[in-house]
Subunit: 344 residues, 2 copies
């Protein structure tokens, strides 16, 4: 009954409630046929006459999810935005242990959008599909409309490599925790793009790190390979190792324990850019989002498939313990901070 | 070489080019795996391990595709917008001869959006899925993000009732042209909502017509039934009988001939509201969009499935004739006008 602190129900806005609060209001109201797997994983799973498939959707809005002009002077291209839209959605399908079968795109564009920018966007989306290896993915058309800001929505469907999805909820005590793909590079790239270090003066190594933010490279074959290798749980690393680890811990009802020593290469890779920008490489590795690698767990006796490296283990809750947590070298980590679309 | 009339290529904007011109620039740049059926029909068709499926996507943007406040004083609800988003996408799947299997929704919302409005939107989307009879359609989740205007994107997948899609291009000379669903009601409803006739004073009949604009009712079982009954061509009536008829004519390489006598009931239904508003009921029936009924062609000896009524026939081009057209009672109709997202 803390009604004093919140607006009256009828005046409540999206900004008051935040993303997870809003989702909690929406989801119970979405009532159609029962999906095989509903919201809560990286993609939903749907029954269909020929067999189940997965589907995901994601929108990028100008100045919210992407920026065209950066403090560093860097100008993001339509190509970057198209790439990112494809990569995000393909990564969600990958994380289910599936390969993409189709993408549809809906573009909302202001009158003044340069045609060349839209052409680049289409090229960037296609390049990501091709270069990331989504060789079964058709880009099957979409929708065009007008609006006051650029908005790019893609929906992607996928076929499950083993017929069964790999969920966030399957991690078992004793399992090895493994990751595939870079950690913290997209966050370091964001810090660089956001810095006052003029992009014209960047070294090649610095430009590569910015590219990690602009054009993330989800390891697309790794999701199906992990499924075949017996992964017990899997998810896309979109919001950082700790936050995504906390989600997997909560879904699986077990603690996720990471070891700093297993992340040394990731930390070292970011030390040069951290010293230039005054950033913390460990924080980028642990809390940086948008890398779109994979976090997965495997039985301790399974051989990790190529590209996966062990970073920790799954620990059972103690008797009477009810809150699954994330640990680093045995110390409980805070995962309460993180990006919320409707905050700030 | 009419470069004097158009901006230099590098300065060309979306507004200069219009919707179809922009599409012509985008489509060749979308290169992934080859879909079984790409852009050009109401939905795309995709090969998948268990069998082909169809997929479509559609975005509604505030003040472009829907309005919340009308000159008549009517206030559209989130329920209406959710209903419309579902109905449009379900209709595209229906028009392929398919039934919907899954919907995913992506919402972009300003900070100030009332939570109750978003709840209503979810209720309206679900109500359309249920009440229109999409009983196999899961609403499988989606995406939430922030933007400066409300934008609702839905992607819907479908399973083909006969395993084969019904295309726009299959109409054969001698076929019967038939429609299913209302004609012109959504356009009359738009005129009423846009009028200065205060919504508080509307009769029940007038409120029903406004409802036809706010909550269109695509005949969802009719698409699969038409496929089973041997329809040769089919499409969603989203932009009006003449304009959509012209598209079917062009895709099929034959003339589409409509008969005014077959439309008398449709015209009569709109006469009361036309006399109140000073509108032209024939024009609404022929050129009004957003009814989301079906336009289909059947072999002349086929029994039309329930709900379909004959409105004309398909005529072969004459020798040497190269432009398929739309006729009404033997008179060629102009179909050059119509809604363009990037005009005006």
């Amino acid at each position: 009954m803390e009604l004093y602190d919140v607006p009256e129900a009828e005046n409540l806005t999206v900004g008051n409630l935040g993303e997870s609060g809003l989702l909690a209001r929406i989801l119970p109201r979405l009532r159609g046929a029962e999906p095989l797997l509903g919201p809560g994983d990286d993609a939903a799973m749907i029954a269909a006459p020929g067999g189940a498939f997965v589907i995901t959707v994601d929108t990028l809005v100008e100045n919210q999810d992407f920026r065209l002009h950066w403090p560093s002077g860097f100008e993001s291209s339509g190509f970057d935005v198209g790439w990112k839209s494809a990569a995000q959605n393909l990564s969600d399908v990958n994380a289910m242990g599936a390969y993409a079968t189709a993408a549809v795109i809906s573009l909302t564009l202001p009158h003044s959008t340069p045609v060349s920018w839209v052409e680049e966007l289409a090229e960037g989306f296609s390049a990501a599909v091709r270069e990331l290896g989504a060789s079964n993915c058709s880009i099957a058309g979409g929708d065009l409309g007008r609006g006051s800001e650029v908005s790019v929505t893609a929906a992607v469907t996928g076929a499950l490599a083993t017929g069964k999805p790999i969920l966030r909820s399957g991690a078992k005590p004793g399992d090895v925790v493994a990751v595939n793909g870079v950690l913290g590079v997209a966050a370091a790239g964001l810090a660089l793009l956001d810095s006052t270090l003029p992009s014209a003066d960047w070294t090649q190594a610095e430009a590569d790190i910015a590219q990690g933010q602009r054009r993330p490279k989800p390891p697309l074959h790794a999701g199906p390979e992990a499924a075949r290798a017996g992964a017990t749980a899997m998810m896309d690393l979109s919001d950082g190792l700790l936050k995504d680890g906390q989600r997997m811990a909560a879904a699986s009802g077990a603690h996720m324990c990471f070891e700093r020593n297993a992340l040394l290469n990731d930390i070292e890779r970011l030390e040069p850019i951290a010293s230039v920008l005054g950033g913390d490489p460990l924080r980028w590795v642990l809390a940086g989002g948008e890398d779109h690698g994979l976090l997965a767990t495997f039985p301790s006796d399974a051989a990790l498939p190529p590209g996966f490296r062990p970073v920790g283990f799954v620990l059972a809750l103690e008797i009477g313990e009810s809150n699954p947590r994330v640990y680093l070298d045995g110390l409980m980590q805070s995962t309460s901070t993180g990006y919320d679309h409707f905050e700030g």
